[in-house]
């Protein structure tokens, strides 16, 4: 599969850290021209320093104007867009009583509106390239999460969007799939509003919930995004692939 994406242009949202960064790197290694989208300027600049080969754009996926401007600049520069990876998102664990209106809005804006705005903006270019869309769901998208109901419901929405868009865009030859990772050890995970003192305990409980006995790495998720982005994966659409060490089976 080396250089499977030579000559292709790819957009990865939330590419400046964690799973998104690993995805951007893996797609670049396959020969793609990768555009990384990030919201926070300082984190974006740090990512630019780490990966000078990736083109970095600032945008908040929850703002449709930001998103349109970013996608337009990609198409203006390269003349095409082949793959969109909707990775940007947020998670914060909170019991129902502790879920504030603002927190609920932010979850849906980042995870559901953001995924939709980016896909809408990219659609004309994807129609022209008969491209692919890869959404990032989560094991939480199809498994109940006590204490994380808002996050889980946004990911259930992402899985539903994936299936509807797959049928809606199949006549245009556009494939739409999702990856549903289990618990992955990333910087974002460490900042997920779990008190730092509780983190080791939380990570241990995840290890117990995963049949393969450990949390995943960002790279283990990224390789399946590459597989679904591969123009050779021509007969796969509407699927949600669990990359979770078997977690969603139990």
């Amino acid at each position: 599969m080396a250089n499977a994406l030579e000559g292709r242009v790819v957009l990865v949202t939330g590419a400046n850290s964690g799973i998104g960064e690993a995805i951007a790197k893996a797609l670049q290694q396959e020969g793609a021209t990768v555009f990384g989208l990030g919201r926070r300027p300082d984190v974006l600049e740090a990512a630019r320093a780490r990966h000078p080969g990736i083109r970095w754009l600032r945008a908040d996926v929850a703002k449709s104007k930001d998103v349109s401007a970013a996608v337009e600049s990609i198409v203006r520069e390269t003349g095409r867009l082949d793959v969109v990876v909707n990775n940007a998102g947020m998670f914060q664990f909170a019991p129902l009583e502790g879920s504030t209106e603002e927190m609920i809005r932010r979850h849906f804006e980042a995870n559901v509106y953001g995924t939709t705005f980016v896909t809408q903006a990219a659609l004309p270019a994807l129609r022209a390239s008969r491209g692919a869309i890869i959404n990032l769901s989560s094991a939480a998208g199809h498994k109940p999460v006590p204490g994380g109901s808002i996050y889980a419901s946004t990911k259930a929405a992402v899985e539903s969007l994936t299936r509807s868009w797959a049928l809606e865009l199949a006549p245009a030859g556009i494939r739409v799939n999702a990856i549903a990772p289990g618990p992955v050890d990333t910087p974002g995970f460490d900042k997920s509003e779990v008190p730092a003192a509780d983190l080791p305990k939380v990570k241990e409980s995840f290890r117990e919930q995963v049949p393969l006995g450990r949390m995943g790495t960002s790279e283990e998720v990224a390789r399946w995004v590459v597989a679904l982005a591969d123009p050779g994966a021509t007969w796969v659409t509407g699927q949600v692939l669990s990359v979770d060490g078997g977690m969603s089976l139990t």
Binding site: P211, L212, G246, L249, T250
Partner: protein, 175 residues
């Protein structure tokens, strides 16, 4: 093209269709393949087609003695196996009203029971970090007239994959 260098794979139903395409690709990727099938003539054609790094073992996955002989051959020739692709299967399209007990037993015997014992009997020779792939069908999740028995066997295979993955290791069902 060497992702599977040094790996040993068993592919049941490997003399035609998806099984043959899988065997060819595995060998291209550096694996050694054992393929099984019920028809000796088709197996020999497949062997010629694949060209190298392949052993054919004639047999029916519904026959437990054939499976024992398969894994005995694998152990004798290669010492063990890394990848099992349980692909052998049959489909006969009949309505519920027309289905005979023979049709039911044959379909479940090959697709469900055959898959079950293909994997169970592989366990003693399956190396660490091995993987098991079951070839199911989209029909596992659908209701299609005349595919009542076939669909039920494929749903059973989908369920096998979930339980076996939870029980020990990497099992995938392709639907």
């Amino acid at each position: 093209m060497n992702k599977l260098n040094g790996k040993v794979a068993v592919i049941t139903g490997g003399s035609s269709g998806i099984g043959l395409a899988t065997a060819k690709r595995f060998v291209e990727e550096g694996a050694y393949a054992f393929i099984t099938g019920r028809r000796a003539g088709e197996l020999e054609n497949a062997k010629r087609d694949i060209g190298r790094n392949v052993t054919v073992v004639q047999g029916d996955v519904a026959n437990l003695d054939d499976l024992d002989r398969l894994y005995k051959t694998v152990k004798a020739e290669r010492g063990g196996v890394d990848i099992i692709v349980a692909n052998a299967g049959v489909v006969e399209t009949v309505t519920l009203a027309q289905a005979t007990p023979e049709h039911f037993d044959k379909t479940f015997g090959i697709n469900a029971r055959g898959t079950f014992f293909t994997v169970q009997k592989a366990l003693p020779v399956l190396r660490n970090s091995g993987s098991i792939v079951l070839v199911a069908s989209c029909v596992a999740n659908m209701g299609i007239p005349m595919y009542t028995t076939y669909g039920a066997t494929k749903a059973a295979m989908r369920s096998f994959a979930r339980s076996w993955a939870a029980e020990n290791s990497r099992t995938a069902a392709c639907a």
